[in-house]
């Protein structure tokens, strides 16, 4: 391993020091011919404009309205999502897990930050931080309390620790009072957290 003697931070100006360090690294890697800044711009732009939880929301809304799609999604989510032309492409090993009245699913990565990027975008800070990663597998009910979510005490909570290259998408339960709604209307109710398992979809008529 390399030595870490240059890893200490100076409290008064950590951000600017880090920023300078990042700029210098980008210059060096560019000068060495390893990277092209325009390609970095394109990567950032893709995350900022195209890849986000709206992709997952479309998949969930489709599953709520199309039983054949839901069945296919639960059998092989990568394949099923691949049949939806309007959703961004998705990599292998995506697994959709269904919430039911008796079972609530929650996804975590205790070891780092594995998350279904193509479905949900980049993970929020809390997902990558120690409180969630440490507690989700030991006391998920108390974690849900931090999100203002409570479940009946007899509901099974299944926590999926993303320890390999499999990625998990929670299929939340469709809210009551949405009979006859279109896929697009339903997609508006699907929150990012409901697809991680730390929240529920919005209720019809709730402020957005």
């Amino acid at each position: 391993m390399s030595e870490h003697h240059d890893h200490h931070d100076h409290d008064h100006s950590e951000l600017s020091e880090t920023e300078l360090r990042v700029r210098a690294l980008e210059s060096i890697l560019t000068e060495k011919g390893y990277i092209e800044p325009a390609a970095l711009d394109a990567i950032v732009q893709a995350y900022e404009t195209r890849i986000g939880p709206h992709n997952g929301a479309q998949v969930v809304a489709k599953a709520w309205t199309d039983p054949a799609f839901k069945k296919a999604l639960l059998e092989d989510a990568t394949k099923a999502v691949g049949t939806l032309g309007h959703v961004s492409r998705v990599g292998d090993h995506l697994v959709a897990v269904e919430n039911t009245p008796g079972r609530h699913n929650m996804v975590v990565c205790t070891l780092c930050s594995c998350y279904p990027w193509e479905m949900l975008g980049l993970p929020p800070v809390w997902y990558k931080a120690a409180p969630y990663r440490s507690r989700a597998v030991k006391d998920p009910r108390s974690v849900l309390v931090d999100f203002g979510v409570s479940l009946p005490k007899e509901t099974e909570i299944r926590v999926w620790d993303s320890t390999a290259e499999t990625r998990f998408l929670v299929l939340p339960m469709r809210p009551e009072g949405t009979e006859g709604w279109s896929e697009q209307q339903l997609a508006e109710l699907v929150t990012r957290d409901s697809m991680i398992g730390t929240g529920f979809p919005k209720l019809p008529g709730a402020p957005s």
Binding site: I35, E36, C112, V137, A164, E165
Partner: protein, 219 residues
Amino acid sequence: MNGVHDMGGMDGFGKVEPEANEPMFHELWESRVLAMVRAMGAAGAFNIDASRFYREALPPHVYLSSSYYKKWLLGLEDLLLDKGYLAREDIAAGHAVKPAKPLAPGKLSVSDVERTMVRGKFGRPAPAPAKFKAGDRVRARNIHPTTHTRLPRYVRGHLGVVERDHGCHVFPDTAANDAGENPQWLYTVVFDGRELWGPGSDPTIKVSIDAFEPYLEPA
């Protein structure tokens, strides 16, 4: 390695604090770090397992006190230094002063960016039949490798049940050390909460990990 990154079951980190209307990046440099890691990986400087290992190998106090993308930056620098793509002289000068080391497949161009926006493929042909099937009782091995592993400490030594078989995948424990893809069967293994956290814990909890076959023994 038994590092501080292996956080499952630890106490004392406090409440989860979701940020309302969280921006995608809190600082511009974070987006550059993300993109540099993706671009250098795509260029062939390292695989995803090595990049994870270098973040895990940061000293514990640095790991715990650095923001997420700061850890990515520090891990990236260490990795490129160790693999010879970057020299201390380059960093000191703030410019490339040492010659570049050839990379394959090489620089990621703008026209190839789209390819990197879909995750890589980790499934591989099976070198041997699977030892376990859904429904089998297994025990997570009590192993403590000092190198990269994806077997979290909190399940080691505990009994679980195989629920799904995901086929054969690249084995992170060897891929991270340039010791080859060494494909292994991968299973979802479910543990009862009381098995992991004791008889007094919440009886409604079940926790699964995705476990490579070498992490498991029959039970």
